[in-house]
Symmetry: C2
Subunit: 363 residues, 2 copies
Amino acid sequence: MNFTISHIDGNARTGSIALSRGTISTPVFMPVGTMGAVKAMSPHELLDIGAEIILCNTYHMYLRPGQQIVAEAGGLHKFINWHRPILTDSGGFQVYSLSPLRKITQEGVTFRSHINGSTHFIGPLESMEIQAALGSDIIMAFDECTPYPSSYEYTLKSLELTTRWAETCQKISTANQTLFAIVQGGVFKDLRLESARQLIDLNFEGYAVGGVSVGEPKEMMHEIIAYMASELPPDKPRYLMGVGFPEDILAAVEAGFDMFDCVIPTRTARHGTLLTTHGRIIIGNSRFRVDHTPLDPQCGCYTCQNFTRSYLNHLYKAGEILGIRLNTIHNLYFYLDFMKKIRTAIEEDRFNSFKKAWLTASV
Amino acid sequence: MNFTISHIDGNARTGSIALSRGTISTPVFMPVGTMGAVKAMSPHELLDIGAEIILCNTYHMYLRPGQQIVAEAGGLHKFINWHRPILTDSGGFQVYSLSPLRKITQEGVTFRSHINGSTHFIGPLESMEIQAALGSDIIMAFDECTPYPSSYEYTLKSLELTTRWAETCQKISTANQTLFAIVQGGVFKDLRLESARQLIDLNFEGYAVGGVSVGEPKEMMHEIIAYMASELPPDKPRYLMGVGFPEDILAAVEAGFDMFDCVIPTRTARHGTLLTTHGRIIIGNSRFRVDHTPLDPQCGCYTCQNFTRSYLNHLYKAGEILGIRLNTIHNLYFYLDFMKKIRTAIEEDRFNSFKKAWLTASV
């Protein structure tokens, strides 16, 4: 991996992450393909909307179909027919959020599958093995994601465990995959800084901030965003995991983050919530029944170029899969276009005014 | 509409139906877009697989979104963004098969919506009005579809009512839509012939055979197929409604039918049943977990060109929409390709041997 910064505007920056499977322009949004498919999208549609990298979940691919099958298929890229970069997470977050039962030791986590209740164990060794079998381009060190709320004492012990696990991951990861570490520390600023310091000492190729957007008040998340980026090495990609709404991404870019992933655009699309530059649209709302205009006249996506709000309302009411598809294409296009506008604003030294104008228009 | 026969092989024939929005090669299979969308498909994907005409259901479009909204949108083609020909059925079949309550008079049918239980009335006048508002290219005369079993006496009275309704439809239909009549008569050969005679006397532009595949034994359906086509005018398109499996279509083409529609390829796809030249595949079957070959190596569809059985098995198990999409693309491509092979075989005077080879290979 080669990370280059091309322009800095305040703390916001544009750059590129060069990987063997392709180069990513940052700040970047990564569509989420949890189980080896970005929900409702084909890989060719992802190319069409300009996705440069997607995220897949190690936990899900481990449970089903299993990394062995993916490896036999020639790796995740071949299995899902997506040949640009893939980032896989560590499995840590899902082990805590999805498993009905888990037990943490120094070696890793014993947990139950959310699919069939079977018992499994993943630690740093296992996470690296799974991600190696998947063959993703950027891999994440196995971490403990502390829930909100957690005590100061627990959070301190936990971040130290995360550091030890990250060290283990670093020792066994191979050169053909790029390993990022995940900063934890909950909502405690000194613990966040301590976690960052410990991981920076180990010198990873990139740094993620995990354990945010896990139920803490939004103001707390924005505080973490505000002080965290500047504590991470300026010459390495900074990745804010699982965030968020456009306004959250604007705050994080302003602070100096480079990478984002979130299920918001795809999940809300499936439930009929569509994002436009003038705010959110609930497409099932009866006023759209007779609205024969495009969803967003300024949008260049397939949905807005070819269909009307009235038809999208009809498809939503009728429960048609095509409705879910068209909504998803729009929301993902909207996010990727949003990131492109952010990059342009930074390049033109007007990120601050862009951010203000965006927040005003979308209210 | 201009119907031209290009080649005859036994009773099977190839031809073309020229309509203002496009020309259809016959024998043709029409994908079913019940509620204004072929389930899981985009209109551009339908173009990609070579669909020349689709069917939409008058009953469904009437109930939701309502023909007024479609008319305001500029007609069904504009509303759903499909600019090749559309055939709409009469609404007759759905009134009988979906409504929880119905009352038939000489003027039409009072029924309850399967969506919200509200009371509605559709007769020949209403059916023509709805289809005119939709603006479909081929429209169907309103009929009574007699259920199986029905008595001889009831079926006789019913087919006479269908004839009177067809006459009414003919009087009020306009020149920019092509009106087909629907032959009824249940499983009684003399009544089928009587229905055909009465409708042929009225001189429609095309003739459909309705009321088949409504629960009667398959042999009875094949009997009707075998004698019915030759009773219909040779110079008009012959349409066998709602049929069927490839073997049924082969029998019907052999008898001289030109047009088909059926939900089988799309519905079975959603449930993971995939059609290949070597028989059906249940993609959820565990032996496909580790099968890294294409679904059908001889198939040229997007699914077979880009994905493996193992990935399709994974998507099916994971309940991913992409799985439904890829399965649907394959099955519809398979049907359209099957019709193309049928047309080629007829043109080359080898339909009979083609049929035999097909039935042998697919067992």
